[in-house]
Symmetry: C2
Subunit: 230 residues, 2 copies
């Protein structure tokens, strides 16, 4: 239908059938424009789409090369837990466990260099049963509003997403044995695995918040899909 989609499909086909094998160089934009009889901008549109998909790389003067596919890129989406639970048709519940103000020494990972921190522990429930334990530190220097928020009715996660702009988030995903806190609050037995999502949120080099979200491994997994390039 749209020229650039056909062109992208054709180029993809040539990559897949080894007409342009991994590592090889594609013709210039102008050559492609002539071949497909379209404007250069239309070729750029198609190639940009393939760059996003991670299939080709482009550098000035060097040209356009087919990437040697060595890894699988996909888009990871970790929603606010309330939305995830509600969209599954289950009932969401929330309980604040504790909330205190600490000095920086509480931050063992060195993410916060110097700041007064708020430490919040909260539980998210699915159909009345514990589902996610949220263990969070908030930089009060950067987010002073958080000092006066009790988090009794809204979770820190949701409050922060609504209130605070961020510029980058680093996420760690890992497996652990349930900690004492996990066992107590997630109501699982000692020796069970938990799935951990840890996030560090930053606004232009200023650390805003760090959170450890733990889940019973039997009830939680993360799913992600590559964009279907066709």
């Amino acid at each position: 239908m749209h020229p650039y989609e056909d062109i992208r499909a054709t180029i993809l086909e040539r990559i897949n059938n080894q007409t342009w094998p991994a590592g090889s160089t594609l013709p210039h934009e102008e050559q492609l424009a002539k071949e497909f009889d379209v404007a250069r901008g239309t070729i750029r549109r198609a190639l940009s789409s393939l760059v996003e998909a991670g299939l080709i790389e482009r550098r000035r003067k060097a040209g356009t090369r087919v990437v040697d596919r060595r890894s699988h890129m996909s888009t990871l989406n970790i929603p606010i837990i309330r939305h995830e639970i509600e969209s599954s048709g289950a009932q969401y519940g929330y309980k604040l466990l504790s909330s205190d103000i600490h000095s920086p020494e509480k931050d063992e990972t060195g993410f916060f260099k110097t700041a007064s921190l708020k430490h919040v522990l909260a539980l998210h429930l699915k159909d009345g049963r514990p589902f996610q334990l949220e263990d969070r530190l908030i930089n009060l220097t950067a987010i002073p509003k958080a000092r006066d928020e009790s988090f009794k009715t809204i979770s820190p996660n949701e409050w922060l997403v609504a209130q605070v702009p961020y510029s980058s988030i680093r996420t760690y995903l890992r497996a652990e044995l349930a900690s004492a806190l996990d066992v107590t609050h997630l109501k699982i037995t000692t020796g069970r695995p938990v799935f951990i999502v840890e996030r560090q949120t930053t606004l232009k080099t200023v650390p805003l918040t760090r959170v450890r979200l733990s889940h019973d491994a039997a009830q939680y997994q993360v799913v992600t899909e590559t964009a279907d390039v066709t």
Copy 2:
């Protein structure tokens, strides 16, 4: 420097400082073009960038709206394990454990509907120690070449990535207790957690391969970062 970057930054600023709060509608492209005194195409470039970043949504006639940020999107990149190990400066090792041809009944998840399958079990080592256990099923109907490949010197993972084009990959990340196979081959003790990466690879609705990659949780985690929108 480049107009579209400045424009994107300005718009981002207005979103962050609530000039255009979540849910509100931005001016049309032509209005913005007039305000910033650039061509409409330049405005489109800036807005497209924000769409990719997940900050705004656009629909014909409805206009451009600020997204109510309810989740964090990031790009997940799971490399071939050999490259990951080698780039960390460690030495990579590989060992084939078993390779057989099975009937479909081996596929308990129903990913492969009907096909003759090759089942391969292999171990990836880091500095001589077990690091990743690869448990893979390959659709021989779709990838007949795999029937004659012994996988004695190259891992199925790497062979497939080099040989087979795919169109989509679904990835599951989860925590489990080590299975008997995990305990035996990863040389961990019973009752330890493992981190599982499971992938289902498809070419235009045809299932190609499914793999379960297990790792000692103490040695493996996944890291991902959002694109830094500034």
